[in-house]
Subunit: 342 residues, 2 copies
């Protein structure tokens, strides 16, 4: 290698090193986590499994961390955001479907009649998902969701949905990745829905999103090969579905799992029952001032059994009001054009 | 930052840079690929999509490369190695199952009566898979497959199965990864089977293996939470199943796909029909001397339609006899203890 080339290499390497230190100072310190027991528990665990001389050292390829999405990485009130998306889509598509004026569950949605809508239960929701998520390629669905994310606002806060992610959880994801963890979303929500924004909002690529899914079919009758989502639900990635979904998608038991509801109980049980060091964490929504306070009396984000299990299994319970100095990102970000994948 | 610390950083960074150059010289040059059209096509494509100033530049997160396994990354004669594993397992487990002496397909396997075994078709194979792959946790199955890999030998070559991987394909995987690609296995074989050795043989972590799968269930009746494979086939990741499997697991259309049989046709069609630069490649088994020569007349690795499609779509066809200077790794490697995951 020539002298000048050598100098250039050293120089560029030196710049890279400095950049990574700056990132460490900004991103790796869990800046909006107060200095409480929850933060200590996280940092102590991560040190234990990443320091080379630790008896509990875990090699990087086994540092799998899984996160629920609704109520864990972003908010979930007044309902799961994906359902609010489906509701908005029914309204947007209604002019093309005059029959919806009298057909349920569409009539209830269009009349904003939540009582009738809820009375239709699972069947109504599946019909709504079918009408707004199915018979599309991923590319088409991506465009629809991206457009919704860039315009729609949450009815309770008036914020864009993408601004209702939890700032401390974004820092936790960054911190774990900086420590060699591979971060996954494991959600009861739809895989294809979350994949549209997982990379831009959380830094998690689509292949690291595990969720519920519709059955898909392959078509190539016209020389334009494509994969299309049908309206048949193939897998529900909730409760005992979460360990099954993780096992099938990742093929390893995680060492770090975070959730906020009884739907996450089995994922945390299974994760923390593995041999060696394991970390389980529950986000407890205790902050009526900056967010919402709810647990066992809530329909969305119902938390009861898992909170009892946390005590028994020694999982870390995050008290949002006490452990986080900030809930949502402080400033509105600029409109993102990302999300459309080919 | 203090002066000494600065110097140490520069020094360590410089060492890292030099190490990565050494790797480039050894691993990135496709050393056992002859200087023929196939190698040029690969290198030209990779340059096109990775050079910053190229009009066809593809950002790293979209550099998804998918590889079939049997006949593409390792050999597949006299049968798919997973079936030979199942056959070996039936023999190993026979003493615990005296009823197998008269029960099909087990009797045919134990009598080495391949004609009777083949006559039982799909039903017989499913029963064999059920008896050797099901009602186990992943940890238990990993131990069984690892032990088999360390001892069993291919009946035609006398080699350990792990020594029947294709050296040039290992180099291609390394080369692509060094160029920022994420490499996946997309196989008609069982996900859980391939995951046992994908990391040690190919450098591909279990979460980047997409294959056929058995339905799984979650159990926690005794305080030992576990995920267990049932004997029910849930998804067959072959033919049109490959684009569906990729779409569900990755959520992006690959830009680079390699296969060797008609089972890979849809994966290559779908991959190369995407917008922007795409690369399709078929491994043509033309080497009766160092491996086997077969295509459209072969039951295992049947290649006919895909070979015609390759001409039409301008996919690169690798002629094993002419394009590879070496087929299998030259020296036997030492026994690997890897593969058992928790």
């Amino acid at each position: 290698m020539g002298k000048i080339k050598q100098v250039l290499f050293v120089l560029s390497a030196f710049i890279l090193v400095n950049v990574s230190i700056a990132q460490e100072q900004n991103g790796e310190t869990l800046a909006t986590w107060n200095n409480s027991a929850a933060k200590s528990a996280i940092v102590n665990f991560v040190d234990r499994v990443t320091q080379r001389d630790s008896p509990d050292y875990v090699p990087p390829e086994q540092r799998i961390a899984v996160f629920d999405n609704d109520g864990t990485l972003w908010a979930e009130k007044p309902a799961y955001f994906q359902l609010l998306f489906a509701k908005d889509e029914v309204t947007r598509l209604a002019p093309e479907h005059p029959e919806w004026k009298t057909e349920q569950p569409f009539a209830a949605i269009l009349n904003e009649d939540m009582v009738s809508l809820l009375a239709q239960g699972k069947g109504g929701i599946e019909k709504m998902i079918g009408a707004t998520h199915a018979n599309m390629t991923r590319e088409e669905f991506n465009r629809v969701v991206t457009s919704w994310l860039n315009t729609a606002r949450n009815p309770l806060t008036g914020k864009h949905y993408r601004d209702m992610i939890y700032q401390p959880m974004g820092e936790l994801l960054n911190y774990l990745r900086a420590k060699g963890f591979k971060t996954f979303i494991v959600s009861g929500g739809g895989t294809d829905f979350i994949r549209v924004f997982s990379e831009s909002l959380y830094g998690i690529p689509p292949e690291q999103v595990i969720g519920s899914r519709l059955k898909a079919r392959y078509e190539n009758d016209d020389g334009h090969p494509r994969v299309i989502a049908t309206d048949e639900v193939e897998f529900v990635n909730d409760k005992e579905g979460k360990p099954i979904g993780i096992s099938q998608a990742i093929g390893r038991r995680p060492i770090f799992a975070v959730g906020n509801s009884d739907g996450d109980l089995q994922m945390l049980e299974w994760t923390t029952a593995g041999k060696g060091p394991r970390f389980g964490m529950l986000i407890h929504h205790t902050d009526a001032k900056r967010e919402w306070a709810y647990d066992r009396k809530s329909r969305v984000g119902h938390l009861d059994k898992a909170l009892k299990a946390a005590k028994y299994h020694n999982w870390t319970v995050v008290d949002m009001a006490k452990d986080w100095s900030v809930v949502f990102p402080p400033a509105k970000r600029t409109t993102s054009k990302r999300g459309a994948q080919n």
